[in-house]
């Protein structure tokens, strides 16, 4: 709920909106300015949400901010509005409060870039490894974990080097096989600990707590300086004039960001918020960057072939089963979903699908496998089955 009114002057770091629900996070103004509108706006995903529009003052000081009140770590992290910055935007404070009966033995930081095209976590690990590791220590202390691991894919040896250079030996920087989706939570736990998170259970069941490296850095800032989450690193890439990683204020419109990087180059057919494997394609560029927006990727028709209807033949090559990180049989679920045979698709566990998109990516006949699996998932959910 907005806690400011139109015409009110706000300072950088000031609370703009807050909700009491446990799984939620407050939002702070990233700039000094004046509230011009309290209403709603569209998000990248197409949802209409409550919003506050702040017109910036002419003078901005990005060094200072109104700090949040610091209590214990969980309270501070909650007050600072920190959410999972890998894209899921799950409130970090909730993750820091695992069920009491489960012991967290390992804190794993996710330094595997979640998707192709994105390099924001890579740059963060290269440029600010201290913040990342400081966050890791705070998290480990809070949940009482003895072991801290940063998992980084082997194609980023410089990031591994950078983290190792500042780690004091109590942090393991683990080089992991470069494969998508190595950065998916359950797959990361499997790669690092060799344990499978049982179906329907939290990662805590495997004794693990996973946070994205950017989230860890934000937690460090909140605990050390009371800094609320107001900005993040966003990879802006693809068909733009100056691709790169930019530190972007939360709430910046995608259209403004595109303009800032010099606009589009060549024909752009899809603009994706996040990565091209899981991110939504924007219908409208006047949507805000949020705390979970890891990238803005502008793709042209050559990179994005049109989505097929689903009647391409499955040649049964088996590539989808080989790449599925959940060991599902996407071709089978896809074929059954295409024929609306929901009851026969259900035993193949469509609800376990993490929607990484690897099956639809790899399919040589371009069957929209993930899109079909989503139909099967929806049919299961409609029956009241919980994922």
């Amino acid at each position: 709920m907005p806690v400011v009114t139109v015409g009110e002057k706000v300072k950088r770091g000031q609370l703009l909106g807050s909700v009491d629900a446990p799984v939620s996070a407050p939002v702070h103004s990233p700039i000094d300015g004046e509230v011009t509108e309290v209403g709603t706006c569209l998000t990248a995903g197409g949802a209409r949400v409550a919003s506050v529009t702040v017109a910036p003052s002419a003078e901005q000081d990005f060094e200072t901010f109104i700090p949040v009140e610091r209590g214990d770590v969980r309270a501070t992290v909650r007050a600072a509005g920190i959410v999972g910055m890998g894209g899921a935007t799950f409130p970090a404070s909730v993750k820091l409060t695992p069920p009491k009966d489960l012991e967290i033995s390992s804190v794993i930081l996710n330094g595997c870039e979640c998707e192709p095209y994105l390099t924001c976590d890579h740059r963060l690990m290269l440029e600010e490894p201290e913040r990342v590791l400081r966050g890791a220590h705070v998290i480990a202390e809070t949940v009482g974990a003895k072991r801290i691991v940063v998992g980084v894919e082997s194609n980023k040896p410089d990031a591994i080097e950078s983290l190792r250079a500042v780690s004091s030996g109590d942090v393991e920087v683990m080089s992991l096989v470069t494969r998508y989706p190595q950065g998916a939570e359950k797959q990361l736990i499997w790669a690092v600990l060799g344990k499978e998170v049982p179906h329907g259970k939290l990662p805590a069941a495997a004794g693990a707590l996973v946070h994205n490296v950017a989230t860890a850095a934000a937690i460090a800032d909140a605990v050390d300086a009371g800094k609320p989450l107001m900005e993040r690193v966003v990879t802006v890439t693809g068909r733009v004039a100056r691709p790169g990683n930019y530190r972007v204020l939360v709430g910046t419109l995608v259209s403004d960001l595109i303009e800032f990087v010099g606009g589009f180059v060549g024909e752009v057919s899809r603009v994706i918020a996040g990565g091209p494997m899981t991110g939504p394609a924007l219908a409208n560029l006047d949507v805000p960057i949020t705390k979970g927006t890891s990238g803005i990727v502008a793709l042209g028709p050559e990179e994005c072939p049109p989505v097929m209807k689903g009647d391409q033949p499955c040649m049964r090559c088996g590539r989808c089963t080989e790449v599925c990180p959940m060991f599902l049989q996407p071709f089978q679920i896809g074929t059954l979903a295409n024929q609306r045979l929901w009851d026969r698709a259900a035993p193949l566990h469509p609800l376990d699908c993490i929607e990484c998109g690897a099956c639809a990516y790899i399919c040589p006949t371009r069957r929209p496998l993930l899109q079909l699996i989503r139909l099967a998932k929806a049919a299961e959910m409609a029956k009241g089955v919980k994922p």
């Binding site: 057919s269 494997m277 088996g318 089963t321």
Partner: protein, 335 residues
């Protein structure tokens, strides 16, 4: 958004937005490329009859698919190149002197009854090329067995036989089989056959001219990740092991009778083979077992076709038996 930036026409679609470069067509062209050395060498070695057989099989397969699509008012599917692969594989399991009309009928049956009647690519239960070959073998067994089994340029070459020179044109496998059946045997030297079977074997079908080139093509497909090594490994392993167990020479039996073409190119057909790694190994072994048992105890030694067709029929059951365990569904009973 400022007005001086041109607004692009945005397409909204659900993720993923990018796709891997490998397409069905590319995979099929790799198969054609892998078969090319063996096919070209067979044309050189066998001459015009071989070229006629290739042309009749491939032409008939392609025309049948195009005609079927046109009559059934379905979108044309020739661009996926699977009909070319079927025609090519079919030709390679036909003897070079096969009458052209018989090759054309085989191509028609392969595509029409082997593939399109099931719904086209991906829906057939059996390998289309082998369906075409099986049809011809069963329909005209007498004609095929009386064919002069050589191309125009071939010379009589039944190396290593004693007192068997009269059986001109018989395949090495048939000679070996007769040798085993005869009391005491003729002393047919199997080891002496390795060399011709590997490099220039003019007695047999077009895919048997050079085992070495077939192996080369198979290795290319395995290295490129197009076929799974488990199927040829299981097939060749089982074939060799059983041939040895049945008291014969394992290398000869792997090289002869189109086993290599079957193991690398026929049994590995995506559509008619299992989907899972373990399933593929079991399926490959099954092909080898039925091939060997058929060869040593059946009425005729050329059992590759029927061994693979039989295992094609079992492939869906193998898939059912080897459903992969979903990630996280561990020790459910102990939870």
């Amino acid at each position: 958004m400022s007005e001086d930036i041109e607004k692009p026409r945005l397409i909204v679609a659900s993720s993923p937005h990018i796709v891997a470069p490998t397409t069905c067509r590319e995979i099929m062209l790799w198969v054609v490329g892998a078969l090319a050395p063996a096919a070209i060498w067979s044309m050189v070695a066998m001459g015009v009859p071989a070229i006629v057989t290739y042309a009749a099989c491939i032409g008939s397969a392609v025309i049948t698919e195009a005609a079927w699509n046109a009559i059934a008012k379905k979108p044309q599917s020739l661009s996926d190149c699977s009909a070319v692969v079927t025609g090519l594989l079919l030709a390679m399991c036909m003897p070079p002197m096969t009458p052209w009309w018989m090759s054309a009928i085989a191509g028609f049956i392969a595509i029409a009854l082997g593939k399109m009647i099931f719904g086209g690519l991906g829906w057939n239960l059996f390998n289309p090329a082998l369906v075409g070959r099986a049809f011809v073998v069963m329909s005209w067994a007498g004609v095929l067995s009386k064919l002069p089994n050589k191309g125009w340029f071939a010379t009589l070459d039944v190396a290593g036989t004693k007192g068997l020179d009269a059986i001109s044109g018989a395949t090495r496998l048939a000679i070996a089989s007769a040798d085993r059946a005869a009391a005491g045997g003729y002393g047919y030297d199997l080891v002496a056959q390795y060399r011709p079977l590997l490099f220039k074997n003019l007695e047999g079908s077009l895919g048997e001219v050079s085992a070495a080139l077939v192996i080369l093509g198979g290795i290319v497909l395995i290295v490129k990740g197009i076929i799974d090594w488990r199927i040829p490994a299981g097939y060749i392993g089982a074939m060799g092991l059983l041939s040895w167990a049945f008291g014969s020479d394992p290398v000869f039996h792997v090289l002869a009778g189109g086993v290599l073409l079957g193991a690398f190119f026929m049994a590995t057909d995506y559509v008619s083979s299992p989907m899972t790694k373990n399933g593929r190994l079991v399926y490959g072994i099954g092909c080898g077992v039925f091939n060997a048992v058929g060869r040593f105890f059946g009425p005729m030694p050329e059992t590759t076709t029927f061994a693979i067709l039989f295992m094609n029929g079992l492939a869906p059951l193998i898939d059912k038996a080897f459903v992969p365990r979903t990630f996280g569904w561990v020790k459910r009973d102990e939870e």
